[in-house]
């Protein structure tokens, strides 16, 4: 199983440090450095041709005009294309190889979805056009909403949240509004200690106190400890399922029942929904609200850090409190937009608006194309292959890396290891940086916090077995080197565009804009 591929081909890179001689340009063949635009461009240069105008500004504008021209250099089109193409080559990306960041779900981004999102009938629409001129766009939003409701077994969906964390806020605002409607001022949200950092941050931002719930020794929420904390002050819980240890919360229904019995609501962090899409519906587990990261489960591109999109599915109990706007499909097939004007009589308990306009349309069209491509059967296969790939990684490496919850049952979409067993002075970071030299993006490191030196590997369903075998072979060799105390690992990466960067210096004296 360590074969790199069926033919056994392995690249031969020659001696690692054979080419240390300096070049006069500072570049080295295809390894190209790139200056900042402020060092390349000149004021007055413009890479876009416009007509000129003879019409002077309005006289009344005179007091407001700029005193000095905007001091930004410009580049001609060939210079600009070269600048960004050269920079792009200093990035790792899912298009180059596995990107096994646990909890982040880096899967292949189908290019059909890019094509669809750029159709003029979607990309070149203004959000405030009369609804008669955007029926297809509203129809697409409504169709995606329908799928999300069906796939989750929930009652309604708020489409406008802009990302997962924004969706969390939407869910908690629904809970707060529902409590207000009941005349109750519950103050506390319970959050497992393995939760994503956004969960406690969201709860605090929404004005709740945060109490932590411990995990059992098998890596799941401690139901007894959770139940003991319930009471009239608890507004709800935020549970990630599958959780950040890569395990399904077996007791989810019992947790929901206990929270409901105590008068609270259940928020589910749906960041890991890709593991169970088509296999189980959160609505059947008693969930009241769950955000779905379209950029994870439904593969809209991450783009180097967004944009995301975080629709929130809602139970019947919370749906009346969801945000504006939303779409309604009429019997004649037309689609209406419910905004502030209609809210007073159609959605009187809604908590309001989370952002301008109607949500991340460019992500909706991509996600809809992804969903239609897979269909109900393909989405189920997505979950099965994602879970199969993760268990394959777990079982292929648990002899050289400690799997703290290896005995807790199969993992879901991600495999969790700890730094136990590495030689004195060797850390998870060294293995991660070693993976960079091997040509892979590292896994998520030091998260979840409940495991020492955590390494969270999420291969996703879009990796082939041969690709996984290559990754496993590399991670195995690194684990062995870290166990044996190979000092060279401590200064990895050696072959990346940069060596380890001084993050302390960056934070101590921040340089956030160009100083030249």
């Amino acid at each position: 199983m360590n074969a790199v591929n069926q033919a056994g081909w392995r690249p031969e890179m020659g001696q690692a440090n054979a080419a240390t001689r300096a070049t006069s340009s500072g570049d080295r063949a295809l390894m190209l450095e790139e200056a900042l635009i402020f060092e390349l461009g000149q004021p007055g240069t413009c890479g876009v041709d416009f007509g000129e105008t003879d019409l002077p500004p309005l006289d009344s504008l005179a007091p407001f005009l700029r005193r000095d021209p905007l001091d930004l250099p410009g580049l001609s089109e060939p210079e600009a294309v070269r600048h960004y193409t050269r920079l792009s080559r200093q990035n790792y990306a899912i298009d180059l190889g596995p990107f096994p960041l646990g909890s982040c779900t880096m899967k292949h981004n189908p290019r059909l979805n890019e094509k669809v999102a750029r159709m003029a009938g979607f990309a070149d629409l203004h959000p405030l056009q009369p609804v008669s001129t955007v029926q297809g766009a509203l129809g697409a939003i409504n169709q995606l909403a329908h799928w999300l409701i069906e796939l989750t077994g929930m009652h309604g969906v708020a489409m406008s949240p802009k990302a997962g964390a924004h969706g969390e806020l939407c869910g908690l605002l629904c809970i707060k509004a529902a409590l207000e409607a009941r005349g109750e001022a519950r103050t506390t949200i319970l959050v497992p200690e393995s939760a994503h950092g956004t969960n406690p941050a969201t709860a605090a931002f929404a004005g709740f106190a945060v109490e932590s719930i411990p995990a059992t020794c098998e890596g799941r929420v401690d139901l007894a400890a959770l139940t003991a904390k319930l009471g009239p002050h608890v507004a709800g819980v935020m549970i990630t399922n599958p959780n950040t240890c890569g395990l399904f919360e077996r007791d989810m229904k019992a947790i929901s029942d206990a929270v409901h019995a105590a008068g609270g609501y259940v928020y589910c962090d749906g960041a890991n929904f890709n593991a169970v899409v088509g296999k189980v519906r959160p609505g059947d587990l008693g969930i009241d609200a769950m955000h779905i990261n379209l950029h994870k489960t439904f593969s809209t591109p991450h783009g180097g850090g967004g944009p995301g999109s975080g629709p929130v599915v809602l139970s019947a109990a919370l749906s009346p409190f969801g945000p504006l706007p939303f779409t309604v499909r009429e019997a004649d097939g037309s689609v209406r937009l419910v905004e502030e004007e209609q809210a007073a009589h159609e959605h009187p308990q809604g908590f309001g608006r989370m952002a301008a306009f109607h949500g991340q349309m460019g992500m909706f069209t991509r996600a809809l194309a992804y969903i239609l491509s897979h269909g109900a059967d393909g989405l189920q296969q997505v979950a099965e292959d994602a879970v199969l790939n993760a268990n394959y990684v777990l079982c292929s490496l648990d002899d050289v890396l400690d799997a703290p919850f290896g005995a807790s049952g199969p993992c879901m979409h991600e495999a969790l290891f700890s730094d136990t067993g590495l030689a004195e002075g060797f850390s998870t970071l060294d293995i991660a940086k070693g993976l960079i030299d091997e040509g892979f993006h590292p896994m998520t490191v030091y998260f979840p916090l409940v495991v020492h030196g955590a390494m969270l590997v999420e291969p996703t369903e879009t990796e082939s077995k041969a690709g996984l075998d290559r990754f496993i072979a590399s991670l195995r060799s690194l684990a062995e080197r870290a166990r044996a105390g190979d000092e060279a690992l401590k200064s990895a990466p050696h072959f990346a565009p940069r060596r380890r960067l001084d993050e302390t210096m960056a934070a101590r004296k921040p340089v956030l804009v160009w100083q030249g």
């Binding site: 004021p43 890479g47 876009v48 416009f50 105008t53 019409l55 309005l58 700029r66 905007l70 930004l72 250099p73 600009a80 294309v81 600048h83 960004y84 920079l87 080559r89 200093q90 790792y92 979607f122 070149d124 009369p130 008669s132 955007v134 029926q135 802009k162 924004h166 956004t198 605090a204 929404a206 077996r250 296999k279 189980v280 950029h295 783009g303 180097g304 967004g306 944009p307 999109s309 608006r353 989370m354 301008a356 109607h358 809809l368 491509s373 059967d377 393909g378 997505v382 268990n391 199969p410 991660a432 077995k465 940069r498 060596r499 960067l501 001084d502 210096m505 956030l512 804009v513 160009w514």
Partner: protein, 452 residues
């Protein structure tokens, strides 16, 4: 299924390594009662690329795209020319399919772009620093109000009547749950914004004054005057820019005394996209940087002494600070920031100025044509590329009827302010370098037609 590489033989070999009899065994922890036995009923099965494209094209075909008709909508989203190279470059897989740059050694491309973006945004807004972007302008505005409350330890925000009503609603949503007091007002249909009334609302409890520049009616408030009063009371001035192209012509808010400047970057490189994803811009004074929300990219060196870039000051952020973070924001608008930055690089300061001057000229020509329509009056004394006209009738109906005739003639104030009867005859009209003289004439004729 074309996106799934595992073959049946792979799956069975892998199950063998795992020691599981079937893939169902891997889902043993999902309670049997909740486990679905087959694909969810009522949803279609997988479809070919051809079939999906056909379906999506049919939906797209039911819409009237902005570029296909005379088009004059603004109100927080603007249609400007986007050079072809922008969209080509953001589709480079190394940008499109990268994650947040948590491993800086192999993410210098994204990180250098963010550093360049922060510098471009700071100079455009006239602030000392800027972050690596927020979701959009409206959520950036909400975050700025929350940040001002942290800095001043006060909880009363004063919002100008010229602030986009969706931004007002977004701030009110936040405040409903954080307990901040929001003092907001409707815009008055006057030639210039009532800065004095706004100033009169500032008191010693005020955390911030939020002023849109140019305002939602296209008018230009006197930021320097408002800043002086706000700061004398210990409050911060937050300037909100929904049309950044305007800053190619008029002074940057940071230079006029704004403490925090937020904006919607959509107009530069991002496109209309029916409202999202857009691009939140966020700049402020250097001394407030540790209270800022969102990601920041900073310059440093690597172990070999080479210049490089990293995400920094993350002790403000949720993944480190959890419930004590400055914001819960995690994902930002990276790819939109890249598009904005590429277009700013192509334009330079000179090109943005030219784009603003032409947009302004087109707006002037549009205003002059509309002023010839019987019963129509231009409200603004000053504007850049968006202004308000008053019709002799309800503007919502006029907009709908113009749309039926193939002209997207503007945004009615009735759509933005339902229930505010005083405003219902107002129509917002925006122009840009994309607007042609033929478009302007078509708008004039269409408006004459619906008012006849």
């Amino acid at each position: 299924m074309r996106y799934l590489p595992l073959t049946p033989a792979d799956r069975s070999a892998m199950l063998g390594v795992i020691g599981a009899g079937s893939v169902d065994d891997l889902f043993a922890d999902v309670p049997a009662a909740a486990r679905l036995s087959g694909p969810i009923a009522g949803l279609p099965r997988h479809a070919s690329e051809m079939a999906v494209e056909r379906h999506m094209a049919a939906l797209a075909g039911k819409n009237v795209s902005a570029g296909s008709v005379p088009f004059f909508l603004g109100a927080g989203a603007y249609r400007h020319h986007i050079p072809a190279s922008v969209d080509h470059l953001i589709q480079r897989g190394e940008f499109l399919t990268a994650y947040t740059p948590y491993q800086p050694e192999i993410a210098q491309g994204t990180l250098q772009v963010l550093f360049e973006f922060q510098t471009q945004v700071a100079r455009l807004l006239g602030t000392e620093v800027a972050n690596a972007s927020m979701y959009d302008g409206s959520t950036a505005c909400w975050e700025a109000v929350a940040m001002a409350a942290r800095i001043t330890r006060r909880k009363r925000a004063v919002l100008s009547g010229g602030l986009h009503p969706h931004y007002v609603a977004t701030v009110q949503t936040m405040a409903r749950f954080t307990g901040d007091e929001i003092d907001s007002r409707l815009p008055q249909l006057a030639a210039a914004p009532d800065d004095d009334a706004l100033i009169a609302a500032i008191d010693a409890e005020t955390s911030c004054v939020v002023v849109q520049y140019p305002d939602v009616l296209g008018r230009i408030p006197d930021l320097a005057k408002i800043a002086a009063v706000a700061q004398a009371q210990g409050a911060l001035l937050i300037a909100v820019v929904t049309e950044p192209v305007a800053l190619g012509l008029i002074e940057a808010p940071g230079k006029l005394g704004a403490d925090i400047v937020v904006g919607e970057g959509q107009a530069i490189g991002v496109g209309l996209q029916f409202g999202g994803p857009y691009l939140g811009l966020f700049g402020c004074r250097d001394k407030f940087v540790r209270q800022m929300p969102g990601r920041l990219c900073g310059q440093t060196v690597d172990a070999a002494g080479k210049r490089g870039f990293v995400l920094t000051l993350s002790t403000r952020e949720q993944h480190i600070r959890r419930e004590k973070a400055t914001s819960n924001i995690c994902t930002n608008a990276g790819l939109c920031a890249l598009a904005f930055s590429i277009q700013m690089t192509l334009l330079g300061g000179e090109g943005l100025g030219r784009m603003a001057r032409i947009s302004h000229a087109r707006a002037r020509q549009t205003a002059e044509r509309l002023a010839q329509v019987p019963g129509v009056r231009v409200l603004n004394s000053a504007y850049v590329n968006e202004f308000t006209v008053l019709l002799p009738t309800d503007a919502r109906e006029a907009v709908r009827r113009m749309a039926d005739g193939g002209v997207l003639g503007g945004v009615s104030l009735g759509r933005l302010y339902p229930g505010a009867g005083d405003l219902s005859n107002g129509l917002l009209v925006a122009a840009s370098e994309c607007t042609t003289l033929e478009d302007i004439e078509a708008l004039g004729v269409a408006l004459e037609g619906v008012l006849a």
